[in-house]
Symmetry: none
Subunit: 154 residues, 2 copies
DNA sequence: CCCGGGTGCTAGCAGTTGCAAGCGGAGGAG
DNA sequence: CTCCTCCGCTTGCAACTGCTAGCACCCGGG
């Protein structure tokens, strides 16, 4: 049995080529997904920014987030890399979405297109995971093409 | 200009057939697995279901995900709680979205029921009308296929 | 029989997370 | 001045993650 990853990738490639041929001018650029490894200390900076923007002390955020204040301190200064659970708790304490923190932490990709569409596809129960992957790949290709041909003002 | 509806339908049909041909056996096995429809409470179960649905050995997934095979084994059996980084790696190895895994892990809230993917695509500024139509057709084809293979899911 | 390679699982170890306890400093009440 | 509370930070430790090495089992070939 082949590697399923390659399998899906092949499917997507085939889809893209087919659509490309019949539908017109699809740019060839198919950038691979950005690596997870870019876990930066920017999470800590982000948290601290959000916290001071909300005028909340470290201890208070720690309390409302349900983590210890020393640990939150270390997280904010980049000395510790919090687990996703802690991250989610902190997000709750800050009343921001966990996705934002995950993106900052580099464990969730920021998709290039309209986040609503991406989220809609990803959370659609009527699609298999592999079909989601195909649709998202195709969607991103379209978005890239659209940007290239009609760079709409932001 | 031709009738855009027919144009799109033709293209999508071609796409659909191509994907079907390439995916073929895999689509069958994936659809055969209860994993996609069944909501398991633990990440490990979900991972194992996805893995066996893709007919991949534990060691192979471990290799493609970049984690050790004993650890993946323990994660699948719920003996270890993987960090978000590992979770993201496994998601990449499985070629599924990290969000799905995070939801399974309970570190991301499950999105509300069944979001209106169609509406999201229709209202997406980053897509041309024709691309919207292609995506919508492909989407509906996938939904139909999913319904046929995993009807109602209990 | 005895290898070599495949599957998944167990044991034990370094490195890390995340916490409780405690530090010095700033500010207000007596 | 002393006492108290709050601030953020440092220390030291239990618990955990995630790894390497190795186990038992199964299969096909010499």
């Amino acid at each position: 049995m082949q590697n399923p990853g390659n399998f899906v990738r092949e499917q997507v490639t085939t889809v893209r080529e087919t659509v490309d041929r019949v539908a017109g001018s699809v740019a060839e650029t198919v950038a691979d997904a950005p690596s997870v490894s870019a876990v930066s200390s920017s999470v800590g900076d982000f948290i601290r920014e959000q916290r001071s923007a909300a005028r909340v002390s470290l201890r208070e955020l720690a309390r409302s987030a349900g983590v210890s204040n020393p640990y939150l301190s270390q997280v904010e200064r980049g000395l510790r890399k919090p687990s996703a659970e802690i991250l989610a708790s902190i997000a709750r304490g800050l009343k921001i979405s966990a996705e934002s923190l995950y993106e900052q932490a580099g464990i969730l990709d920021r998709r290039s297109g309209n986040p609503d569409t991406v989220a809609a596809i990803r959370s659609d129960d009527a699609l298999s995971e592999r079909h989601k992957a195909v649709l998202l790949e195709l969607y991103e290709t379209y978005v890239r093409e659209h940007r290239a041909s009609a760079p709409a003002a932001g």
